[in-house]
């Protein structure tokens, strides 16, 4: 995690993801959902605060920063 930068790089652990869809709600500019409700990362650059919130809210702990 680079704290000095003003963007965060997000990624999804596809093994852990169970398709709650919360990341697409908290990061609508970066993540959309496929037809089964699993996330597609359209832009892995996100606002650090919003990204951290999304990571915290993921129930499967599948969303992470890198």
């Amino acid at each position: 995690m680079a704290s000095s930068l003003d963007v965060a790089k997000i990624a999804v652990d596809r093994v852990r993801c169970t398709g709650h869809g919360i990341c697409a709600q908290t990061l609508p500019d970066s993540i959309t959902l496929d037809e089964w409700g699993y996330p597609i990362v359209t832009d892995d650059q996100a606002d650090p605060d919003e990204a951290k919130l999304a990571v915290k809210l993921c129930p499967a702990r599948a969303l992470y920063l890198r």
């Binding site: 852990r16 709650h20 869809g21 919360i22 697409a24 709600q25 908290t26 959902l33 409700g37 990571v55 915290k56 809210l57 129930p59 702990r61």
Partner: protein, 189 residues
């Protein structure tokens, strides 16, 4: 300003509010863990409320505990906050509340450190919430004072709602999972 009886009322009131908030947090957790859970907006709201209401609940719990001890009418020592069954007053029933506090500390600490400990450990210890909730409901119901049936009924209603949520989690399955089990049960040709 705050004489004994005011503290006593405050302790009862915050106790019941804690039970209600805890039941809400509990049910939202059960729903998120369930097979047919909410999607999209609803899932986000459920998860957010689950996380932050659990913190909000701590304020009421703290007031409940502090007022119960500071109010000198019954004798409960500060040690009884963390060490179960040592209270002079109602050792068993106060002790159940203490037990719930101890379990709460386990769940709280592991959830705060969730991103630093293995998922399996967090998950295993988060199951403790079921025991904690049940213990808290029993503590609330058994200690509920007889002159205020409304408070006791509130706790009872919380017990019924939480119990229904657990039953829901147990019986509701997912279509994909049912199908996988059917396929597993088939003979290999």
């Amino acid at each position: 300003m705050l004489d004994g009886s005011a503290l006593w009322y405050l302790s009862r009131a915050t106790g019941v509010v804690t039970v209600v908030l805890f039941t809400v947090v509990f049910c939202l957790g059960v729903i998120t863990a369930g097979r047919r859970r909410p999607q999209g907006h609803a899932a986000t709201i459920v998860m957010g409320v689950h996380r932050w209401l659990s913190l909000g609940m701590l304020v009421f719990l703290a007031v409940h505990i502090i007022t119960a001890i500071v109010d000198g009418y019954v004798s409960i020592s500060w040690l009884a906050v963390v060490l179960p069954f040592v209270s002079d007053y109602q050792p068993l029933l106060v002790g159940l509340g203490t037990l719930a506090v101890d379990l709460l500390i386990v769940v709280m600490v592991t959830s705060y450190l969730r991103h630093r400990i293995p998922e399996r450990i967090w998950r295993g210890l988060h199951w403790v919430s079921y025991a904690m909730w049940l213990v808290a409901i029993v503590h609330g119901f058994m200690m509920g004072t007889a002159d205020q049936p409304g408070l006791r009924l509130t706790t009872l209603a919380c017990g019924v709602i939480g119990g229904a949520a657990v039953v829901w989690r147990t019986i509701v399955t997912h279509a994909d999972r049912d199908r996988r089990e059917l396929i597993n049960a088939q003979e290999w040709s």
